[in-house]
Symmetry: none
Subunit: 203 residues, 4 copies
Amino acid sequence: MRPKQANDGPAPRPRRDRAATRRRLLEAARELFAEHGYDHVSVRAIAARAEANVALVNRYFGSKAALFGEVLAGESALPHVLEGEAVELPGRLAEHVVRLIHHGQAGPVLRTLDRSVGDPQIQPIIRRHLERILVEPLAARLQGPDARLRATAAASIVMGIGSVRRILGLADLRAADPEALTAHLTAMFAAALAPLPEPGRDG
Amino acid sequence: MRPKQANDGPAPRPRRDRAATRRRLLEAARELFAEHGYDHVSVRAIAARAEANVALVNRYFGSKAALFGEVLAGESALPHVLEGEAVELPGRLAEHVVRLIHHGQAGPVLRTLDRSVGDPQIQPIIRRHLERILVEPLAARLQGPDARLRATAAASIVMGIGSVRRILGLADLRAADPEALTAHLTAMFAAALAPLPEPGRDG
Amino acid sequence: MRPKQANDGPAPRPRRDRAATRRRLLEAARELFAEHGYDHVSVRAIAARAEANVALVNRYFGSKAALFGEVLAGESALPHVLEGEAVELPGRLAEHVVRLIHHGQAGPVLRTLDRSVGDPQIQPIIRRHLERILVEPLAARLQGPDARLRATAAASIVMGIGSVRRILGLADLRAADPEALTAHLTAMFAAALAPLPEPGRDG
Amino acid sequence: MRPKQANDGPAPRPRRDRAATRRRLLEAARELFAEHGYDHVSVRAIAARAEANVALVNRYFGSKAALFGEVLAGESALPHVLEGEAVELPGRLAEHVVRLIHHGQAGPVLRTLDRSVGDPQIQPIIRRHLERILVEPLAARLQGPDARLRATAAASIVMGIGSVRRILGLADLRAADPEALTAHLTAMFAAALAPLPEPGRDG
DNA sequence: GATGAATGAGGCTTCATTCAT
DNA sequence: AATGAATGAAGCCTCATTCAT
């Protein structure tokens, strides 16, 4: 009956804890942005989910867009995937994608990018983070020329699969045999990351 | 004295021509959606560009979302690309993408998808059209099993490159030699469209 | 019981009349700005007084600030005062001020300037209008050099008396004999509008 | 690690010094009110400038408006000007104004009045202080009848010049020869402070 | 049938103040 | 006594849509 704060919630959270409130807001934003994209999430919704006052979003983060930036900055887009040898990258990218398809959702960052990718308001933020957490780490692990271009190609596959999966649903993707799908995607990523053929030879 | 619409403008278009007005609205919507995405285009902007009354959007199309659907239904996402032999598909897809990068923009449908892909309001519409104009035509040209899955993989690349290109800009992509890039993309599309390996053999 | 629109109001105004609604909004703004100053008037208050929807303020005028500008542009600050011979200007300015003190309020423009003079948000608007409706017309009627400076001096008296009268109330000013007060103010305005002494003679 | 307040800052001011904190708040308010006017200064800005806690504004002064009152009460509006013989008052007022125009800004009190003169929230406060620090001291130095009225007239010039100068800028005023301008303003103040003509003689 | 005025909801942000710590 | 987190209201503006003309 008391509209706020159930008595028996998990650990009746301490009021007046700036750090904790900030954390709750950030977490709420992470979830909502991942689910609905940047501009279909209102700051009121974020505050409500965090059980905090709306004004605190602005007090703590400055603006909705800055909060969005902090969400993106918070974690890696592809945790544990970009580490290791370049030769194993295609396989690990593929495994990551398949894991997402079969065992739950993409990480919040990837889903957020996915959902918000078309929004011109936050284009600079998206761009910065896409570079920093996807293209640059990938490129850093590639040998040879055109590293950035090849990293961009792989990033395109990641982003594209994310979008398409979300739009079309998981049915088709899940229907495939996981191992076969992994092999297929490995081939795609390998093609994306392969060195470009030398130009001008037979053009 | 007549504040609007001088009588003697160029080609004094007939007032009260339902079909023509409808067409102009559709064309205006096509252009604006392609440039700004679904929900950063207001119906007022559409009506203004079409020099038509705002309320006609609703009268003719029912709603903004329905108008969006009609825009998508209007034309192919990849004109002239999906025709021809399956074996040539990777090359033609790659050429199409490279052409877009080097000579102007994507077609309106693709740009519209690109811009609006994250918007939950129109998810069903996007889904329906993505199937109809991208996945199904592609799948129809593929031999063997998993046609839909392989088509989806190629569609993912198309969509992903669109998103990434718009976010990161064209600099990197344009820096590459066009023919080498075409070859690279051809390999990526070929990998996407290739038959899946038979599962369970060496897993 | 119908929350809006009493049955017996004066001339049950026609609904759906853009020009009339616009006029009502402008008039409401004129009154409220004159009474409370620019930023203590909310667009909601203006709309409420005009019995119109809030959004119409923005639709018709673009913004609150633009509406404010239109209010200022609407009428002269000193109607019928700035016309006539320069030699009579001090007297007419004084008579105008005394008239205001004894028979009602200043015109809305002057009161609006008065109230809003300290607001940095609309400084450019205030400046433009103060120039256009007060300083320039005055200067145009002055002979000799320093016309603008002398006009500014007279304008300062007008503005200053407005402010002080509003702050301190009318009691003191009304206690004085109107004719004596007029003569006094005439002398002040004459001093303000008089040519400056030639400089550098005995400096 | 300590995000705030390094231990070794310049003059590690004692925390918990009520009197000093109060003083700093007052000084910060003085400066900010003078520059931006009453209601474009937030209590947060005052507290930040004073490096004090926001809530102390309310604790020490009761409210923002009361703090504003205390600022006005703090010092004379026209220091060193209102002292001396009545016959010299016009000249000293003029010199003061010209000094302000040519060598820097008005004192904080005058600028504060200037900026905040239109704000109805603090009208009573403004009124009280305008009387106490401007009109009454002036009137006290005048001989003859109508002292208050004449003082009010002079105060109007001071206030009006302040407003106009801030709105229109200093260009025109500074273009004039300082001595000629002083003489001009002296004449204006003399007219304002002169005894009123006896009424009823030739009306 | 067509027009466009009007609507009501919702968007983000900022503020002075209160209250638990 | 002092802190600063939290509050609730209010600010302007934009939008898709409806309805009287």
